[in-house]
Symmetry: D3
Subunit: 253 residues, 6 copies
């Protein structure tokens, strides 16, 4: 049995509170056990310089932790004057993952900024960020559908993420911080609602892992992500979600 | 009547939720109308280099806003690579204000870090930060009293803050964002529970103000701060608060 | 009696040397006792990006100290790679204070850069900067009047500043460095020639202050600022100063 | 057939030139097709602050590209004043991967700095860096064995890396730049000589991938890495390589 | 006799390998003894902001060392977040020196970026950079002549550089690192093919030098530079080099 | 005749005002025509980390210009967040030049910080800085002699600097800004009182120069520096200056 009494294939309780921040076009508070992340989505009517004139949209993400989200206080990156490697890695991951389910060519030259701010951390903050950011993204996109700017949501699938790992002989789903610290293998998995891989990042810094362990971890992750997508669907129950495999480029005005 | 229906001398609703972040030694969420700030207090067993060997303690503060706390998204200071002038001014104010009610000489060589993170902004974020930070500070200090490290709280009074301003001919208490944008005079006032001034920062960039207007603003601020201190007392009802005018330097072990 | 023999309500000797730097459109060296500040005003034919197209002008200020202006050498902010909180606070104050007596809407889209460089410091550098900067500003503006670019000075009043403080039981005007270090309360006051408040920044970090002490400090500051304005008038005796309450927006060509 | 005529499961030609830089304790030039990386290993007799006193060693890596390693010139990160997200991600990956085959506890408090500088880029620079860095690492470590500082190499396996990807329907090994630009799925794989996974980083930003595609890519990567390890063995033929599963902590003096 | 057996007026062996980096418009590896520098030249179809609209071209240079080019590892300037004084001095020197033999007015609004990256250092890296950069510059310029963009090379002479110094009583040509460390006087000389001075930078930090020593050093440098220009001519033997004293401004299309 | 009526071999008027800044151990205002520089020397009782334990002293210099020292306003380097290449080059030059006449081994582990702040610029700011800094250095050193810390001044000669240049066919001494802008050759020369070279930095970016021109410039510079040293001697008339060729290492206590 695990430190918090869960079965090896059991997620922590997941809560998604939509419209958590009144100013944002889309926002939620996602809680996965004691990990709590505020996710917001902001619409901007232009794209970054390297994309101008291409007619496509862009999704970009930033990630941060409050200094006291963790057991000991972390210095702010603004005070240190630079964004650390871990933060950059995570925000690049979040942006890339979200873009994989968006029809950028159907957005027109708009950017959606995703902000994931961890207010309390207990493991799995990057995967919780992805799962929550998807919900904020849908709400922001839906605003443009409702205003008539877009004819339909430029999305082709759900997107959620979780972590899996190996502790001793056991393969575990959704590691909390204590588990994460003792795991010899740690893998983050991002999948679509239809069960395809978007990102797979496994690292065995403390002990290389075998192909069999890889299979076990993937199976666990897939089951967990199915439940996370179910939680997203429930949270977004009032949004008329229709995902198109292909979206006409003229779907934005 | 004001934009949100308040009387000219009426505060917005104030809510203080203690122990909001599980890892911090002291923490609260303070809500003043739609302004919401997470305040944490972190204990550290040493003081900054310039104070080492002096036997005294230190209180320092950092302040930040989530990018989407405001109506339009603000770039993160970590991404810009430097902390802006407004942020520095505010965090210097918060630290200075809190230190004014602390017996630093009774703390021993410890630092308490105050973090004020605005998750939603609607005017008065710096004054709400001070009012909330005081509560987080008490909780963190009380931990050291309970553990026997300190014999008593090294505090000599309550501390709270609010803003006042002039719009047209009227003097108003606790400006929200919309009011703040149209005010010609803006003043932040920090006072102790006993009604003494700790900070007074008035600026009439758009219209210089007269001595009479100053008196009116001070009277309004004082009444508002009394109510904020009452809210702090209620929130801290279970803490045995005793403030000493003088604290023996040996009160810490 | 005070450390330098002054009465409690006595300013230090004030000298203003105009046209101190040959390249600047306006400049002076202001000496307040041993505090010496070079103030320059630079005309620029555009406004910052956030103001473009608005038809109004802008005044902005920068403040710095030479490394050896003080008793011990201070590292340059350029070497440290960032501007500190104290500097930012002061330069924001100087800019804000000057803008309060300027008809920005009558300037056209021009910026006036104010630079205050402290070459020797003995307390009161920020208030001396404001008093000196006003003189440099007038000279730079007068150049545009003389060249026919402006029909009249876009100013509505004089502007000067001083500090007051509390040491023991006494309230003192114009603190020098030694006094400033022992004062329990420190207040900077910026007023117009007509006696209205532009900025009031009082801080009682070491001891909160009472409403009565506030009144005493304000009275002292007012008397001191009257003398500083008199010194400005004398220094600017050859400039035909006419301040208008309202300036037609077409007063610039 | 591929743009450069290779079969789908064929590596580009690999050349490893040891002792390429005379000053470094270990160094090589690794060429994988037109990708050329100078890898050096530097011994330092201390560990970073966070590891002091723990008795263990550390391996850390830095990665950079010459500005004209690529088809268009990239601005230097030193000129931009900060290290970008991509660079950080890669250097964290290289360090983590190398540490996975090192008995850190057998190194004593020493750091080995790995520098990977890409002088010409044609896809796969991060995986070439890992493969080359392993050779430089062995040479630097061997110096300490030869000098008697260490009784044996604190290594437990070979380590090499390659990339695989999907273009259209095909799964390809060791993508060059042109292929990398058109691939919908891109995966970097780091494996040990015994065929265990150290890192697996797959991303399907342009098209999520199926479990079957994952299997194909893993099989290709494994075959490629076997050949890379063979190239390392050949290059290091004169070094008496013995890898121990466990190394006594006292193996360093 | 010198540490490496050379006569006092003898250069180290010089090798210039052209087209060393396949992506660059011009490139070479220059080796002067154990000093090895990769020089590239990059064409850009615009000039920096301060030159726009002037119709002239620009040559700018950047210089860097790999961390392990030297006997002990140097921290990367990108990691330190700023370019050091020595680097700036060198890259300003390289740019200035190259511009002195270029008819900027005949280039049109183009920039040529020179990058000098030292992969192995043994003294004289800045002078080797200049000598090598000239070769890369010629190759890049020749591309524009061959494509018909320019009618002729906008160059008026060869350009090469070496160092001279004083050790004890002796004046030496082309100091290696060991010699450079013990020299009391160190002078870098940049000359044209026709024997005119472009830069002369002598420093006697450890011992001021006399006019006679200056004459000796200049004579040695001149002889050395003649040999370096001969090496450039040999390396560029296949390029139809014609230098014009004056180039018509219309020589570019 | 020159723009300001001087002969080709005539310096501008030189004024040196000692003890210009009351806090500094040594200071002066040097005026060379319209170029005005405040030079200060600060004593510090330790050396930089790289020199600790070596028993020697150190001289280091920083240089800056006030934003409005020049005809158009220059942005502050503190606001830009980094020190530019020109500034670095100059401050490295000033420090190196001063060290050349100091017996560092006779200073003990002390640093003297030289600050040169240009308050008005009209050409030749770096050479005026060196000439003035030498005077400030003597005054600061003399303080340690008077206090008995040092038995004698650890100096072996005077030090002064000037610029020379070529305009058209003429060689000119001590260029002002207007001349400097049109000169094709520009050379800064630093010499000792005994007429030896400390630094020679000639650049012919706009036109390479011949050995004959070099001789002319050197002769002019030498004559000018003799006059500058005479001005230093006059300014320091009351200081008992004795320069020793060798100073016993035990000359400091």
């Amino acid at each position: 049995m695990r430190v918090d009494g869960r079965a090896h294939d059991q997620l922590r309780p997941v809560t998604i509170t939509r419209n958590y921040i009144k100013h944002a076009e889309g926002s939620c508070l996602i809680e996965v056990g004691d990990t709590k992340v505020i996710c917001t989505a902001t619409l901007e009517d232009r794209v970054p310089p390297f994309m101008r004139g291409g007619g496509k949209g862009w999704i970009t993400a930033e990630y941060s932790m409050l200094p006291r989200a963790t057991a000991t206080r972390n210095a702010r990156e603004s005070s240190k004057g630079k964004v650390g490697g871990r933060t950059m890695e995570i925000q690049r991951l979040i942006g890339r993952a979200l873009r994989s389910v968006v029809h950028l060519e159907a957005m027109g030259e708009k950017t959606i900024w995703i902000d994931c701010d961890v207010i309390q951390a207990d493991g799995g903050t990057r995967t919780a960020s992805i799962t929550g950011a998807f919900v904020a993204l849908v709400d922001a996109m839906q605003k443009l559908v409702e205003s008539g700017t877009w004819k339909q949501l430029p999305l082709h699938d759900f997107l959620a993420a979780t972590s899996v790992g190996v502790i001793g002989e056991e393969t575990l789903l959704d590691l909390n911080y204590k588990e994460d610290s003792t795991a010899t293998v740690d893998m983050n998995v991002v999948m679509t609602g239809k069960g395809k891989f978007v990102e797979l990042q496994g690292t065995g810094e403390d002990a290389p892992f075998s192909p069999e362990q890889l299979q076990d971890m993937i199976a666990l992750a897939k089951a967990g992500i199915n439940q996370l997508v179910a939680a997203q669907k429930e949270a977004l129950a009032d949004v008329p979600l229709t995902f198109a495999d292909h979206v006409a480029e003229e779907s934005h005005v």
